[in-house]
């Protein structure tokens, strides 16, 4: 009996194809696939009819050639019968050993193949998650690539750049920033101060005090001193205010930079969130896949056990048939229960001995052909 290796492999492979992350586990296809090897590994693979026919034909031929054992004085028949029975027993035992060795080797190969299939069925299948922000691609090594869309990437680059600019402002020169703000404040104040100065000048010159210079007021009149004092106070206040505003702006820039930077990574975060969601979904598919692979492995194991058992049954049946054939040819039982075989007793005479190469006669060609045919039957 020979194992249909290709069919068996095909049967083992088929259920794995039925587990897809997208389509889920196709139970019917899986069941059908599992059913197929069982059919292929059924005892029908062992050509019993051909075997029976060959055995029948050989026995007839051998019986025709040997005749009845009762025709000769030397119990050559019994001797041949015993010799043949020993040869047949040896041959049958050797056939069993070879078949079991082959069967174990095939079982090992099938188990390894199923293990490989289980590994393949349970291995991580890279998947991708696509959102409006881009496509995240996982790889077989468990890594992933957050692929942002060009728009989002550009947005991220822009936001990052802007954030960088703001951070540059945060770490910028406070003195210069204060000076800039101070200049702006003074630019706002200057026109009114100039108008005040003009009004003061008008008043001073109208009162004849335009040319007053006083040591008490730093070389100028009291009014001009007061004006300058107010101006200086305004300048001081502006400087102080500018300093505070510069620091405040830095705080704002820091906050804005942080905000922009955070916003810049929002698409990535969204991608990560989507990846998490996709991972969950993939886990669902993976779980089915793994369950399918496990189920396949379990079913494959079960099938393999069934196959092994069927092969064991087949071997047992074949052994039985061989024993029956030997008994048929050589007889069976002892004593009262003894049954004379086709080649034993009276039917096997002198001529038959010679015909079968007993004595000095050479081994006839038909015995050799019979042995070769038996060998070919057994697949040896």
């Amino acid at each position: 009996m020979a194992l249909n290796q290709s069919a068996f492999n095909q049967a083992l492979t088929t259920p794995m194809q039925n587990v897809s992350p997208t389509t889920g586990f196709n139970q019917s296809a899986f069941t059908s696939a599992l059913t197929t090897p069982v059919q292929n590994v059924s005892p029908t693979g062992f050509n019993q009819t051909t075997f029976n026919q060959a055995a029948q034909t050989g026995a007839s031929t051998l019986s025709g050639m040997l005749g009845s054992s009762n025709t000769s004085g030397f119990d050559l028949g019994g001797f041949a019968q015993g010799l043949l029975g020993a040869g047949v027993d040896y041959y049958a035992g050797q056939q069993d050993i070879d078949a079991q060795a082959q069967f174990g080797q095939m079982s090992n190969q099938a188990a390894q193949q199923m293990g490989q299939q289980a590994v393949q069925g349970t291995s991580f299948k890279p998947f991708s998650v696509t959102t409006g922000a881009g496509t995240t691609q996982t790889d077989a090594q468990g890594g992933f690539n957050l692929g942002l869309s060009p728009e989002q990437a550009a947005m991220q680059a822009q936001l990052t750049q802007q954030a960088g600019g703001l951070f540059g402002g945060v770490t910028g020169d406070v003195g210069q920033a204060s000076q800039d703000i101070y200049n702006q404040i003074r630019a706002i104040q200057n026109p009114e101060e100039q108008r005040d100065q003009l009004r003061l000048n008008e008043k001073l010159f109208a009162r004849g005090r335009g040319g007053v210079s006083s040591a008490q007021y730093g070389g100028q009149g009291a009014e001009q001193f007061g004006f300058n004092q107010a101006q200086q106070e305004a300048m001081n206040q502006a400087a102080f205010q500018a300093r505070q505003m510069a620091l405040g702006e830095q705080q704002q820039q820091l906050a804005l930079g942080q905000g922009l930077l955070g916003q810049a990574y929002v698409p990535q975060q969204q991608q990560l969130d989507a990846l998490t969601a996709g991972t969950n979904i993939a886990n669902i598919a993976g779980t089915g896949q793994r369950q399918g692979a496990q189920l396949q492995a379990e079913l494959g194991g079960t099938g393999l056990e069934a196959l092994l058992r069927s092969y064991e049954s087949g071997l047992a049946g074949e052994q039985t048939q061989r024993n029956q054939l030997v008994d048929l040819l050589l007889g069976s039982g002892q004593g009262a229960n003894a049954v004379e075989g086709l080649l034993g007793g009276s039917s096997l005479g002198g001529s038959l001995g010679a015909a079968v190469g007993v004595g000095d006669a050479p081994t006839p060609q038909w015995i050799k052909d019979l042995g070769n045919d038996a060998k070919s039957w057994l697949g040896l």
Partner: protein, 514 residues
Amino acid sequence: MAQELKHVTISAPGFLGINTQDSPIGLDPAYASIADNCVIDQLGRVGARKGYDLLTTNGPAVLGTSRGIEAMVEFVSRTGVKTVFSAGNNKIFTGTTTLVECTLPAGYVITDNDWKMVSFNNDVYFFQKGHAPLESIVGSTTLTLLPTTGGNVVPQGNEILAAYGRLWTCDIVDNKYTVYWSSLLAGDDWNGGSSGSVDLTTVWPNGYDEVVALAEHNNFLLVFGKKSIIVYSGAESPNSELTLHDTIEGTGCIARDSIQSTGTDLLFLSSRGVMSLGRLLQQKSLPLNDISKNVRTDLLSLVSVEEQSNGHREAIKAVYSPIDAFYLITFPESGIVYCFDVRQPLENGSFRVTTWSSLKPTAFFLFVDDTLYMGQVLGIAKYAGYLDGDERYQLRYFSNPNDFQSPANLKFLKKFNLTIIGGQGTPTTLNWGYDYTSAFTKQEFTFGSSNIAEYGLSEYNTDAEYSASIVIQTPKVNSTGSGSVVTVGIEAEINDAAFSIQKIDILALIGRLI
């Protein structure tokens, strides 16, 4: 048939002072055309001025051939010690009888005698253009130089005023537009404390002027330019409150030392004559009045002479004497002093004015005892007595041409009846002339000597002296000639006796129509 004599009386002749500006015809006979060495006495008469009593005994030795004492001041310290500072012959002296030269700072050279000296805060300060100011601390005869270098350079002003608790100065060489003031109560601090200055460039009402003098009047600070006056208020706090109150355009002060305050008016010499700036009670502007309008042309001609002779007008000095009730202004180059009687202004607003000649004062100062002192060639003199030193001086009074209110008739003067108060032993000449002639007919006479009241003199147990308290002379002079207008004059050589013309009675015959 003899014609009736017309009796014309000139009562208090010339008591309205000199008037050379109006047309003499029809002019009030109380005006005089000449009233030299005269004053308007307490009774409104033309009388002889006083002479001077020279106090200084070493004048020639210390003054040499200079013009004499040209500036002086009496300083009274807080302890009551009086010190008279005077300047002349490029020196500064103390004392009146004996002029003692003050000790000047080492190397200090005086090149002129136009000092203006003021007493301030128990010290005396000396300012003159082009000279570093000097200081006499508490009347010390050793003068201290005010800082000329460093951070406290004192302006070398030509004018100095002590008012509002500080010193004020102006008229610096190359800077005739800035008024400076010292720190409060610190005449030597002109750059610190509350010192300051004001640039008048933008204040002059006529765009440009040169500051000449300063004065305090009616609680205003007056800044005198040559052609304008700036009136400032708030000078008590000049740094913060000095405020232009008013400006007077067209009238200024042309002589620094002509400014005198009469208590009610501020008198000063301007290019229009002697002006009076009155106090204001209701008006916004100070009332300004020309008090020399009756002698304007003559007076201003003397100003021109003074400026042409000296190149400046600092030699023109003035003083106000409340005792004598006159304002004197002297023109040393001309030797003429104009005397303005400040008792009562005339109807036209001018003051009665007379002239003084032969006195030739070069400086005035009214001491704290109200005695008028003056600088003379030989030293310091006191306005007193009726001799100029030891010499007589001549009083001259001439009326304006008088037509006796009959301009179309001839007048034949027949007789003069004079009433003279005082004049004991005074040679007197009566002058009369007709028709604007200066070739007068003269008649001399001398009043006899007479003792007058000697109040305060103890002459008990001496020879009895019987006399009235006032000597009255009533000479009578027959006159000749005729004319349409008559000019009458009296010339008296004042000889240590008062002389006042009380009245001139003229007996004239009014003739035919011309």
